[in-house]
C-alpha cells in the first residue's frame, strides 16, 4: 500500500509541474517567430553573456540580464520567461542553455531557448538549473514588461503600462512615448495618457497643466494614482491651494468609489464563507435535520470526500484539469457508501434514541480519523488546484473575485438546488419526507422504511463527501479536516431550523456574511465569538431556529 502511495506521490510531483510547463511552451512559441537572431549571426558578445549567466552569482545576474536585454531585445523574451518560470537549465558539460520541462512520464525534455527546437530527454545529472531569486524574478518581470510593451498582445501591453505606473522614470516615459507613437488601442492609450498626467502633476510647475492632469487622474482606481495624490497632500512643500483642493476632491471621489467596492468585496467574502458553511452543513441538514441523527461523524464524511479527491488526482496524474469532475461523483460514492454502512451497522440499532446516536457517531469519528492517519500518515496531503480554478477575475483594480471561491459559491448553490429537486420531485424524496414526517404511517403505506433510512443517510453522507471535494481546494487535507467544520455545521443547521433545507441555505449565508462584515472592525476571533453569542441569544428568541418545522413532526 505504502509503495503504491509513494508512486502516487511521485506522479503527483511530476504532474504539478505540468501546467507551468504548458505555460512555458506557449511563451516559447510566441518567441519563436521573432527569434530571427538564431538565423542571424548570433553575436559573439551574446554568447559570452549567456555563458556568464550560467556562472554568475545571483547579484551579478541582474547586470547580465540588462546587457542581454539591450543586445537582444525581443529575442530574449523566451529566455526571460523560462528563467522567470524556473525552467531555465544549462548543460553541465556544453554549457548550453535550454528550457527544460517534465513530460507526464517524468522525463526532463529540453528545448532550445531561442528556436524552441527539441533537444530530447535530459538526464537529471547532466543539467543544472540557472539560479533565480525574488530580486531577479522582479527584474525579469520588468524586462518582459518592457518587451511586451513593444511587441506583446493587447493584454500584455496593458499590463506593462500598469507596471510602469509604479515607476515613472524618464527612461520608462520614453518607452511609453515610443509605444504611443506606434498607435495603440483605446485602453492602452488611455493608460499612457494617465501616466503622462501623473508625470505632469509631479514635474510641472504650471498650475493649469497640473489641474488638468488631476482631472485626468480623478476617478481612476489604480493604486499608483491614489498613492501619488496622497503623497501630494502629505507633502508640506506643496503650497498651491488650488492644486491641493483639486487633489483632495479627486482623492475623495476615488475613495468613495473604493468604499463601494470594498463593500462589494466584503459581501462576496461573506457569501463565499457562507457557501463553505452551506456546503459543510447541507449533508448534515439531511442526516441530522431530516433523520434526527446527531451525526458527529459528519465532519469525517467531508474528510473522506477530500481524501477521495487526493486519491483521484493520484490516479489520473495526466489529467489534473478534469480530476475534480471525476472526484465529485467518486466522493459521493465513497462517503455515501460509508454512510450506508454506518447506518446499517450502528444507527439502525439506535432507532428512536437520537441523543445516543451522538455517542456512537462520536466513536465512529474517532475511528475514521485514526484510520486515515494510519493509511495516509498524519501529514497533510497535497491536493492540486487545477488551472481553471486558480487566478482572479479582476473587475477593476480594486475589486477582483478569485475563481475558486466563485466556482465554489456556484457549486454550493447547484448542490443545494439538486438536493431540493431530489427531495421534492423524486420518489426517493417523497419516501424520505414521508418517513421523516410519520414513520409508522409510511410503513403502513408500504414504504420500506429501513431502506429509506439507509438511502437518506447515504445521501446526506454523500453530499458531505461532495463538500469535501470543494473544501480540498481551500484548506488542509488532513485527519483533522472534519473536526474544524463539525461545530460550524451544527450551528448552521440549528440556526436555520432543523429539518428545513431552506433554513440551512439562509442560515449558512447569513452567518457567513455577518462574520465577514464584523471581521474588519473586530478581528477574526472576536467576530466569531460575537456570531456565536448572537446565535445563542437568537435561539432563546426562536427556540426552533429561523424556519421552525410545523405540524406533527415538530413535537
Amino acid at each position: 500500500m505504502k509503495h503504491l502511495l509513494l508512486t502516487g506521490c511521485l506522479l503527483l510531483a511530476l504532474v504539478t509541474t505540468l501546467p507551468a510547463a504548458s505555460a512555458g511552451s506557449v511563451v516559447s512559441e510566441q518567441a519563436a517567430p521573432s527569434a530571427t537572431p538564431a538565423s542571424e549571426e548570433p553575436g559573439g558578445n551574446r554568447q559570452v553573456l549567456l555563458a556568464r549567466l550560467t556562472r554568475a552569482s545571483l547579484r551579478e545576474s541582474a547586470e547580465v540580464l540588462d546587457q542581454l536585454e539591450r543586445s537582444g531585445g525581443r529575442a530574449m523574451r523566451g529566455l526571460f520567461a523560462a528563467m522567470l518560470a524556473g525552467d531555465l537549465y544549462y548543460h553541465r558539460e556544453t554549457g548550453r542553455l535550454m528550457a527544460v520541462q517534465k513530460n507526464p512520464a517524468g522525463e526532463r525534455i529540453g528545448s532550445d531557448i531561442f528556436t524552441g527546437e527539441g533537444l530530447g530527454v535530459q538526464s537529471r545529472g547532466s543539467i543544472k538549473k540557472v539560479r533565480v531569486n525574488n530580486r531577479l524574478r522582479s527584474h525579469l518581470r520588468d524586462a518582459i514588461a518592457r518587451i511586451d510593451l513593444m511587441h506583446g498582445t493587447e493584454a500584455q501591453k496593458e499590463g506593462a503600462v500598469l507596471a510602469i505606473l509604479d515607476d515613472l522614470s524618464p527612461q520608462n516615459m520614453r518607452l511609453l512615448q515610443v509605444t504611443a507613437d506606434a498607435g495603440q488601442s483605446d485602453r492602452v492609450s488611455e493608460l499612457i495618457e494617465l501616466a503622462r498626467a501623473m508625470v505632469e502633476l509631479r514635474d510641472s510647475s504650471v498650475t493649469d497643466a497640473r489641474l488638468s492632469a488631476i482631472a485626468v487622474m480623478s476617478g481612476r482606481l489604480e493604486a499608483p494614482v491614489r498613492n501619488q495624490l496622497q503623497r501630494l497632500l502629505d507633502d508640506e512643500r506643496e503650497s498651491d491651494r488650488k492644486i491641493r483642493i483639486a487633489a483632495q476632491q479627486s482623492l475623495e471621489e476615488i475613495e468613495g468609489r473604493i468604499a463601494f467596492y470594498d463593500f462589494m468585496e466584503q459581501l462576496f467574502f461573506g457569501l463565499s464563507l457562507g457557501s463553505v458553511l452551506l456546503l459543510a452543513a447541507i449533508g448534515l441538514a439531511i442526516t441530522f435535520g431530516v433523520m434526527g441523527v446527531i451525526n458527529m461523524a459528519h465532519g469525517e464524511m467531508i474528510m473522506l470526500g477530500a481524501y477521495t479527491t487526493y486519491v483521484v488526482q493520484q490516479l489520473m496524474p495526466g489529467a489534473i484539469e478534469y480530476s475534480l469532475v471525476v472526484a465529485v461523483p467518486a466522493a459521493f460514492l465513497v462517503s455515501g457508501s460509508v454512510g450506508v454502512l454506518i447506518e446499517r451497522g450502528v444507527i439502525r440499532h439506535l432507532q428512536g434514541r437520537p441523543l445516543e446516536t451522538l455517542l456512537a457517531t462520536f466513536g465512529i469519528s474517532l475511528i475514521l480519523q485514526q484510520a486515515v492517519r494510519t493509511i495516509f500518515s498524519p501529514l497533510n496531503m497535497p491536493v492540486v488546484t487545477p488551472g481553471w480554478m486558480s487566478g482572479v477575475f479582476a473587475i477593476n483594480p480594486v475589486f477582483s473575485v478569485t475563481f475558486n471561491r466563485l466556482y465554489i459559491l456556484l457549486f454550493a448553490l447547484a448542490v443545494f438546488a439538486l438536493l431540493l429537486v431530489t427531495l421534492k420531485k423524486t420518489s426517493l424524496g417523497l419516501n424520505v419526507r414521508a418517513v421523516s414526517q410519520n414513520r409508522d404511517m409510511a410503513k403502513a403505506m408500504g414504504v420500506r422504511t429501513e431502506m429509506v433510512d439507509a438511502m437518506t443517510f447515504g445521501l446526506g453522507s454523500g453530499i458531505a463527501g461532495v463538500a469535501g471535494v470543494a473544501l480540498s481546494q481551500l484548506t488542509n487535507v488532513g485527519p483533522n479536516l472534519g473536526q474544524s467544520y463539525i461545530i460550524d455545521s451544527f450551528m448552521v443547521v440549528v440556526f436555520g431550523g432543523v429539518g428545513n433545507l431552506l433554513g440551512t441555505l439562509v442560515g449558512g449565508f447569513s452567518l457567513g456574511v455577518t462574520n465577514k462584515f464584523l471581521e474588519p472592525a473586530t478581528g477574526a476571533v472576536l467576530a466569531n465569538i460575537i456570531v456565536l453569542v448572537c446565535l445563542i441569544l437568537f435561539i432563546q428568541k426562536r427556540p426552533k431556529g429561523l424556519f421552525p418545522q410545523r405540524g406533527r413532526a415538530a413535537e
Partner: protein
C-alpha cells in the same frame, strides 16, 4: 455487584502502578521520548519521535554510551497539555529515564517545566520558540527569536529594501512575543508605526479572504511590503492557497515564515508559492557532506524515499549528540554532572559549521533564509556570516532587556538581572 466492579477498577489502577514501579531499572541508559503521536500535533511531532529512535539506534551501533546500551521509552501525550506533565512524571519516576527529548508547542513545555524541575530531570527541547525562559533542567536546541526573526527582518530590510511590514500570526505566545520583539526592533530601525500592520488569527483559521485582501491593500501603498508570518501549523495551507489565488506573488509581497519548513510544504502544492521565504537554522537543501549523510540515513530509517528533513530534526540531532558527548565527558548520566558538562560542548551541525552550547542553555547556530522552490524544498538565498548565539531573554522587550541566563558558577541562575546584580528577575 456494582461495588465489586468499582473495587476491581480501583484495584486495577493501583495495582498496575505498584507493579511497574517495582520493576527495577535494568542496566541500560533510558532515553525518554515525549512527542505527541495523536491529536493535532501528531502531524509535526511524529517525525521527531522517529528522529530520536534513529539516533538511539545509531548510538547503539557505535557501542552505546559508557559501555551501556541505550533504550528508548516512547509515550504518547496525545497533544493534551496536562497529559504532557503527567507523562513526564511517568517517565521520570516510573521509567526512571536519564534524559527526555520532547515537546513541540510552548504550552506543552510550560506544562512539563514544573515537573522536570521538581524531579530534577533533563530535557532537550528542539523547536524554535519565543525565548524568555531558561531552566536548569532544559536545553533549548531550537532557535530563539534573535536566531530566526531578527536576521530574517534584517534580510528583508537590507536585501529586498522592504519598508512596510505586515506581522501576521496565530494568536498565541510565540507569535505575540516574536511580534513584540520585531515591532520594537523595527521602530528602533526607524520604521514608522503606520508602516507596521499586526494581525492575529485563531488556531486553524481557514478563511483568509479578508486578511489577504487587507494585506494586498496595505501593500498597495507604493512602498515595498513584506509579510512576516508566525502563522502556525494547519492555518498555513489555506493562507498560502488564498495568497496564490488572490495573485499575491513573492515578487510583489514576499512572505517570510518561521513555522513553515520542508515537512509543512510537503502537504501543499508549492508551485504558486515559489519565491516566498522561510528563516531557519537548517534546510534540507543545504549543501554539506554531513547533511547528505543524515538525509540518506533518515530515508533508510523510515524506508521512505520521499521523507524530508527539517530544522527541528537537526535540532534534535545536535541535542542528542551533544548529550552523548556530555555523558562521555562527565562519565555518568547524573543530571547535575551532565548539565555542567553540556556547557561549552561543541558538535558539528548539519550545515557544515559547528554548533556550541552556551552558558544560557541555548545554542550558537548559523541562520539561513531560503526561498520556496517548486519541489517543496528551499534554496538558500542568504546566510549569516558566522554563528548567532541564542538569547534566552530578548534585548528588545522592556521586561527582559536586563536579564541574562548563566548556568555556570558563580551566577548559576536562569534569570540574572545585570542591573540589580541579583538573581530572580527584577531583583528584590
Amino acid at each position: 455487584m456494582n461495588v465489586k466492579k468499582f473495587v476491581a477498577g480501583m484495584a486495577l489502577a493501583a495495582g498496575t502502578s505498584v507493579l511497574s514501579a517495582a520493576v527495577m531499572a535494568a542496566d541500560t541508559i533510558k532515553v525518554g521520548v515525549l512527542h505527541s503521536l495523536s491529536g493535532t500535533m501528531a502531524i509535526s511531532e511524529t517525525t521527531l519521535k522517529d528522529t530520536v529512535l534513529m539516533m538511539v539506534d545509531e548510538q547503539n551501533r557505535k557501542g552505546g554510551l559508557l559501555g551501556k546500551k541505550l533504550e528508548a521509552v516512547v509515550v504518547d501525550p496525545a497533544s493534551d497539555w496536562p497529559l504532557f506533565a503527567e507523562k513526564t512524571r511517568e517517565l521520570l519516576t516510573k521509567e526512571k529515564v536519564d534524559v527526555i527529548f520532547g515537546c513541540w508547542t510552548s504550552v506543552s513545555r510550560k506544562s512539563v517545566l514544573p515537573v522536570i524541575e521538581e524531579l530534577n530531570g533533563l530535557m532537550f527541547y528542539p523547536v524554535q520558540y519565543e525565548g524568555e525562559e531558561s531552566s536548569k533542567n532544559v536545553f533549548y536546541t531550537g532557535a530563539s527569536p534573535n536566531q530566526q526573526a531578527i536576521p530574517a527582518v534584517d534580510y528583508l530590510m537590507n536585501d529586498l529594501e522592504v519598508e512596510r511590514w505586515v506581522l501576521a500570526g496565530t494568536d498565541y505566545v510565540y507569535p505575540r512575543t516574536t511580534n513584540k520583539i520585531l515591532e520594537a526592533y523595527l521602530e528602533a530601525k526607524g520604521v514608522d508605526k503606520k508602516d507596521i500592520m499586526v494581525n492575529y488569527t485563531p488556531f486553524g483559521h481557514s478563511d483568509w479572504q479578508s486578511i489577504v485582501a487587507d494585506i494586498k491593500k496595505f501593500g498597495g501603498a507604493g512602498k515595498k511590503t513584506a509579510v512576516v508570518s508566525t502563522i502556525n501549523g494547519d492555518a498555513n495551507v489555506p493562507f498560502y492557497k488564498e495568497l496564490a489565488n488572490q495573485g499575491v506573488s513573492a515578487e510583489d509581497i514576499p512572505v517570510v515564515a518561521f513555522s513553515v519548513g520542508e515537512e509543512e510544504l510537503s502537504g501543499i502544492d508549492t508551485r504558486p508559492l515559489v519565491g516566498h521565504l522561510a528563516a531557519w537554522n537548517y534546510f534540507q537543501g543545504v549543501d554539506s557532506e554531513a547533511n547528505e549523510r543524515f538525509i540518506q540515513e533518515w530515508k533508510k530509517f523510515t524506508g521512505d524515499e520521499k521523507r524530508v528533513t527539517n530544522d527541528p530534526m537537526e535540532a534534535t540531532y545536535i541535542g542528542f549528540n551533544m548529550w552523548a558527548k556530555a555523558v562521555e565527558k562527565a562519565e555518568t548520566t547524573d543530571v547535575d554532572a551532565v548539565e555542567q558538562a553540556m556547557i561549552g560542548i561543541e558538535f558539528p551541525n548539519l550545515s557544515g559549521g559547528v554548533a556550541k552550547m552556551n552558558k544560557n542553555h541555548h545554542l550558537s547556530k548559523p541562520v539561513f533564509i531560503g526561498e520556496i522552490q517548486d519541489d517543496g524544498q528551499f534554496e538558500v538565498v542568504w546566510e549569516t556570516d558566522g554563528l548567532v548565539a541564542g538569547d534566552a531573554w530578548s534585548d528588545f522587550l522592556p521586561g527582559s532587556k536586563d536579564l541574562i541566563a548563566d548556568w555556570t558558577a558563580p551566577i548559576k541562575c536562569g534569570n540574572y538581572n545585570t542591573k540589580a546584580k541579583a538573581c530572580g528577575g527584577q531583583g528584590q
